[in-house]
Symmetry: C2
Subunit: 486 residues, 2 copies
């Protein structure tokens, strides 16, 4: 009903496109939402070409979902009207309730929700996204990439105007984004439980300001973590942060130590920043869990390889010295100035077949390797610069563009093989680059076919999350087995 | 001589543009280097249209600077030839020396350097950049933005194929990039001392794998820090990292605790990642040092404001609760759902004149504020999406493009005023956004006129560095004054 609505009514849309409700309708239309859209407006007859209705009772069918962006004082009255009109769910964007000390209307919301059997999200939330039904009911005018990652956020801002652009940048595929607002009727734990059973969701991200039902959270988070990874970011950790969180969604930010402890117990992976969370989710979405914590770094630069090793080893991932025999086999593929120890440093070596194929295969197939981090995914942008100075053979290839296309196809085909390799050995491969998706088609290709590529040192953070969850999962599965045999 | 060379000779260039030496020449030509370029090649007569010389002795003038990308075994012999030809300086890119246990030739380098009075950088480095003389002698085919930040790197990779693209992304203006390689003759400390006195350099970044002359480093770093900020990243901190650093530039990575202690003593600001370092340098390059550590956050989103408060307060920056009187004055400009406490949260408020002008002015002019962090620098990209749905008045403005241009001019003029405000009160203003320079002309404008804008939480890290250095500097200046009066 919330995520696959057959019909949507919107309170608060007008023909002024800068109004929040108008943006929602614009997003539904431009996103190709296939259900019926019913604007509800006291005066307008048509909104964005759609027939508008004076009251929800005038709409020709009971709607699945209502979105409300109304003046605070009107909300409760309109909920009642929605109840009478047999709407199934309401998302209340309107603010001005508990977060500013106005608690009474939220009690009313709970009463009406029970009275009419109507589900209510919010108030003071930012809308929702559900890609499988082309629903983007946020003010962000973008079309998220469909995928298997879902987010629940107690911060509407993070859910909408922060997350969507960044999500696009790393090519993260989204199933659902849920902004819970003040949680008057339904809270984060309800939605976590829902996503735990949701077949479209493979990994879950949480923006947490405060947890209302601590015990229930522990129970649900643990159950869900056993099925799929949860990555969480906690906001409101310091005095100023807590003060800010309280005046924002009115939630009492819980004690940092208790929350972190709860996360650890339940397998929830805690990270510090949005980028870390989204990058970790991109990994969980695309690559197999590492069978152990020994990673090998393949790099074309000593400094970056060293820094990545620091960040991984400093956070619980092993970067083991490779065995003599593996080092010897690697050395046959490396220039004399290179190092086969781990990081495996190719230095300035332009042999693609070694970098993208032979060395990854040699490493991934070895029992010394539980996962691979490759630094130096340049793609073809820099190559294009070389081509400016290259005399072209007019018979073979007649333009720089064609040459570039040829090279892009070649390097993309290496990536395709690498992804197959990763699945065959059931070990993750993560890439690190200095280029972004939107400036380098090669990076876009990698991210889309299942080889996540991150900016520089960000790749290390993502691997740390991957390894932490895999370790917790292994421990739990082990305990489970022990119990079976004891 | 290294940074303003009148003539440059290059060993190792050919007409194959994928050769390292060729890239150097291509970069010098396309970067509009105005001095003479002399390719030295045993066979070719012309390279990229330039006359080539068989030996450096044949070049018609004693050259200021020589770049060598030769087979390892030829290097020492060619240094001697350069000495005889009265070249003043040599940058040796060639690897295969101390980092692979081949120490003897480096002794020879030192001997020849003394014998001929010739300065030598490297070996095993990646070249250099000096924007004031249009010199980019790295293989990165980009033209760095000229500016007042200089970098010294013990990792050639970081200096070249990592730094340049990212530098462009945040609009960081560069004066010099120095890759020191194996430091056979000149080390990081020499260059740090040089940059300390360099009038073109306002802030310095260091990539450090290991420090050779510890005592001298302490002395120089302290002296330089009193004049200009130094931001450092230490690589090779863990077992694997140290192993990697050793096989890379042959440097013995020093004990992490000792290095960090040395940094603290000498006012060097240590950061963890490349992005943190470059963002911090962008701040030091553009904004005044904060007179104290009380920051105010102005935000259009509760969650992001809270997270920024967490990250600042968790790292030594105060986010003070504002006084009743300031809160009251702010409230007059805020919607009723907003919070004036700090973070000052405007929520979803589209009034530009408040967000970009009245509120920043009110905050900056208050003694409660030592610096301002503004979250929500959207610019006009999202606006363009609205315009798609907006009926245009054909008489006033005849296209979406024109309308967008109009709004861009307007928002840019706010930024100009804000930068003036920042200078008037001598307090920094830092922005946070979800957009990058290359996708949003507004961000480019901000970054170019002196209001640094960073991605999301990255803004907090940059401010932490700014505050740390300002605090150290104040303490030192205080000590100095105390001495004068005692």
């Amino acid at each position: 009903m919330f995520y696959n609505p057959k019909s949507i009514a919107v309170y608060g849309a007008s023909n002024n496109p800068q109004r929040f409700g108008s943006m929602i309708i614009a997003n539904l239309i431009s996103g190709n939402y296939e259900g019926n859209i019913y604007p509800v407006h006291p005066k307008e007859k048509k909104i964005f070409g759609l027939q508008a209705y004076e009251r929800i009772g005038d709409v020709p069918e009971p709607v699945d979902l209502v979105l409300m962006v109304l003046p605070t004082r009107l909300v409760v009255e309109k909920i009642e009207e929605c109840g009478i009109a047999k709407a199934k769910g309401i998302i209340i964007v309107t603010a001005g309730f508990k977060e500013v000390g106005n608690e009474k209307p939220e009690e009313e919301m709970r009463r009406l929700s029970k009275k009419y059997g109507i589900k209510i999200i919010g108030p003071n939330c930012i809308g929702e996204v559900s890609t499988s039904s082309n629903v983007n009911m946020t003010p962000m005018m973008v079309k998220p990439i469909p995928g298997n990652v879902s987010l629940i956020s107690q911060s509407g801002s993070y859910a909408a105007h922060v997350l969507l652009p960044i999500i696009q940048k790393i090519g993260l595929g989204i199933s659902k984004i849920i902004s819970v607002g003040n949680e008057a009727c339904m809270d984060l734990v309800d939605f976590l439980e829902y996503l735990g059973d949701d077949e479209e969701t493979k990994a879950i991200g949480l923006y947490i300001e405060g947890i209302k039902r601590g015990k229930k959270f522990l129970e649900v988070a643990r159950k869900v973590s056993l099925k799929k990874p949860i990555v969480a970011i906690k906001i409101g950790q310091t005095e100023a942060g807590i003060r800010s969180a309280m005046s924002h969604t009115g939630s009492m930010a819980n004690n940092e130590g208790i929350i972190s402890g709860a996360f650890r117990q339940t397998g929830v992976i805690q990270v510090e920043t949005s980028i870390q969370m989204l990058n970790a989710l991109k990994c969980f979405s695309d690559v197999p869990l590492p069978p152990g914590k020994n990673f090998i770094i393949e790099t074309v630069g000593g400094g970056p390889g060293t820094k990545l090793a620091d960040l991984l080893e400093g956070n619980g991932v092993n970067i083991p010295l490779l065995s003599e025999s593996l080092q010897k086999r690697l050395s046959d593929l490396l220039p004399p100035t290179a190092s086969p120890k781990n990081p495996v440093d190719l230095t300035f070596d332009p042999v693609w077949d070694n970098f993208y194929s032979k060395i990854p295969k040699m490493l991934l197939s070895s029992p010394e390797c539980d996962g691979l981090l490759i630094y130096g995914f340049w793609g073809t942008k820099l190559m294009d610069e070389f081509f400016k100075y290259m005399p072209l053979d007019q018979n073979a290839i007649d333009s720089r563009e064609q040459m570039l296309e040829f090279y892009l196809k070649m390097v993309n085909s290496y990536i395709k093989k690498m992804v197959r390799m990763s699945r065959k050995y059931n070990k993750p491969i993560i890439g690190s680059s200095v280029f972004f998706r939107d400036e380098e088609p090669f990076i876009e290709y990698c991210q889309d076919v299942g080889l996540p590529v991150f900016l520089l040192e960000e790749a290390a953070d993502a691997i740390v999350s991957l390894v932490k969850y895999a370790e917790w999962k292994r421990e739990m599965d082990g305990n489970h087995k022990n119990k079976l045999f004891s």
